[in-house]
């Protein structure tokens, strides 16, 4: 886990943890107190939440029939949308943070970064962690505020189920974000791809309407994205009062996704580096 470089004749420790912390710090310094953060973590989720809530107003029912793995549950629209927006906003913050290599390329510091002996995966991880922390306070605050103000109908029967749903959803989304970021190194349009992904991902993952209401081919594609599985697990444990054993299959799927996407990210970064050395065009626009 430890890498060393020599600086002025001294050995300098560049452990993975230090790289992660440094990247987190950089992310915090660059983005925390900016309008950019306010937009992504406050205005957009709130605006989208209102928009999708308004989309349900023209219909007779205020309940959503939510189906998963052959089971069905009736859920209040507000809670359904609130959970959807909160997890989606977290996904978006990861996705946007994942375009870090694109930004480095724009700033002309990409080659420097690759010349340093810092672990590439740690750089990405630090960045996405930074984005997550920027966002987490909002997620917790909003959840409490809306739960008490709008009578969202939180029904928790098993705190372990809620905690594990949250934790594994976050980690799986983090791993997915890493893969997307690693994928975007191969292209010169990382930021563009990240932003263009928003709506298709939201649709197939059941952020706004449950998967049982969209065409099944699209819904099945959505199950490859941790957002879809995480949303089902969270909605069931937070709004449906599901117990741990009820959502074990979903949690297991999230766990598998974490492993698969981290390994994928690792290989994609290696592939990009190999190509960069071969072609020498990585820093070019």
């Amino acid at each position: 886990m430890l890498t060393f470089i020599f600086r002025r004749g001294r050995k300098v420790n560049l452990s993975v943890l230090r790289v992660i912390l440094a990247e987190m710090r950089k992310n915090y310094k660059q983005f925390f107190f900016t309008y950019y953060t306010v937009f992504w973590v406050l205005i957009l989720p709130l605006g989208n939440g209102l928009l999708y809530y308004f989309m349900y107003l023209p219909f007779k029912k205020t309940n959503i029939s939510f189906e998963w793995l052959g089971n069905a549950l009736n859920m209040d629209v507000t809670g359904f949308i609130l959970i959807g927006q909160l997890l989606y906003a977290f996904f978006m913050s990861n996705l946007v943070a994942g375009a870090i290599f694109d930004r480095e390329r724009e700033q002309g510091t990409f080659e420097m970064m690759l010349l340093s002996p810092a672990n590439r995966l740690a750089i990405l991880l630090g960045n996405t962690f930074g984005a997550s922390i920027r966002y987490l306070w909002l997620m917790i605050g909003t959840l409490f505020f809306f739960s008490f103000s709008f009578n969202v109908g939180i029904q928790i029967n098993d705190f372990a189920a809620v905690f594990l749903s949250l934790l594994l959803s976050f980690l799986a989304l983090l791993a997915f974000g890493l893969s997307l970021a690693a994928f975007s190194i191969q292209s010169r349009r990382g930021g563009l791809i990240a932003i263009a992904c928003q709506e298709p991902v939201a649709y197939v993952s059941g952020v706004v309407v449950p998967q049982n209401a969209i065409p099944q081919t699209l819904a099945q594609t959505g199950y490859l994205i941790p957002l879809a599985i995480g949303l089902i697990a969270l909605r069931l444990s937070l709004l449906g009062g599901a117990l741990l054993q009820d959502i074990l299959f979903l949690l297991g799927s999230l766990l598998i996704m974490i492993v698969v996407y981290v390994v994928l990210a690792h290989f994609l970064i290696k592939f990009a580096e190999k190509n960069a050395k071969k072609k020498g065009t990585l820093a070019l626009f």
Partner: protein, 275 residues
């Protein structure tokens, strides 16, 4: 006048050439995905989830129970909002980024004509997107109930007039505050939520209705829908036309004043090219 029109025409031509010569699928996706998501959600809710069971309030507010067509018209208009905010609203920001803004301000042309040219190009490109959406909407079940051509054309023109005013204001903000996306993104979210694109204004909570009534597009959308989907009373159409004309004129006046202020400030502070 001839000079004004020539500036407008040549700016529109140059802008169109650069838009289509460097065509990017990603860029098109950025423009089309948000309205497509709205359409996809509306389609799933209306056809699959609630099986066409819209509430009585909705039928009363729109004289129709067809929610999908209601959202389609709104989404089409949304394409024009995006092009106004991100195309026209950042026209001078990109001139600065490309290092050509000083030349732009040094040239003896009329800058309102220049902005009109940019707007014309942006709206022409958007019309291509709108046609695509119309085609897709028809496949998914959009049905024009009746066409009131005069109302449709006047509605579209009034909307474009209002969007031009909004674009001028956003252009001033992005240029002055060196802001690339935040202003445009925020305004886009506000307009999408409160203009009645996905839900009739009358069905929204009171506070949301107040915000909606200060936005000219709320009136414009009602005119467009009255020309395509549902029949509206003459008095209602007239009040909508008066509402959009008053607010759009206000936006354009504010926009032109801000444009003049930018020119004045650029001479005074000499910071126009500083990023």
């Amino acid at each position: 006048m001839r000079h004004f029109l020539r500036v407008m025409k040549s700016t529109a031509k140059a802008s169109l050439i650069s838009q289509w010569r460097f065509f990017r699928w990603g860029g098109m996706g950025l423009r089309l995905f948000p309205p497509l998501l709205n359409l996809g959600v509306a389609w799933a809710l209306y056809n699959n989830m609630f099986k066409g069971a819209t509430s009585t309030d909705f039928v009363v507010a729109t004289n129709s129970s067809d929610y999908f067509s209601f959202v389609l018209v709104g989404s089409i208009f949304y394409v024009y909002i995006v092009s106004s905010l991100f195309g026209l609203g950042r026209a001078m920001f990109w001139e600065r980024a490309q290092g050509t803004i000083e030349a732009l301000f040094l040239s003896p042309m009329n800058h309102v004509a220049y902005m009109l040219g940019i707007a014309a190009a942006a709206f022409i490109t958007s019309t291509v997107d709108v046609l695509l959406l119309f085609f897709l909407g028809n496949v998914l079940g959009f049905r024009v109930q009746h066409i009131d051509a005069i109302l449709l054309i006047s509605g579209v023109l009034l909307m474009i007039f209002a969007l031009f005013g909004l674009g001028l204001i956003v252009n001033a903000i992005t240029l002055t505050f060196r802001d690339r996306v935040n202003t445009a993104n925020t305004l886009m979210t506000v307009l999408l939520v409160f203009s009645g694109i996905v839900c009739p204004i009358a069905m929204m909570p009171g506070w949301a209705q107040i915000i909606g009534k200060t936005v000219p597009f709320t009136y414009g959308l009602d005119i467009l829908r009255a020309s395509l989907i549902y029949k509206s009373e003459f008095a209602n159409v007239l009040s909508n036309i008066a509402g959009i004309m008053a607010l759009a004129s206000l936006y354009v006046v504010i926009g032109v004043i801000l444009l003049e202020r930018i020119k004045k400030n650029s001479r005074k502070k000499a910071q126009l090219t500083v990023l």
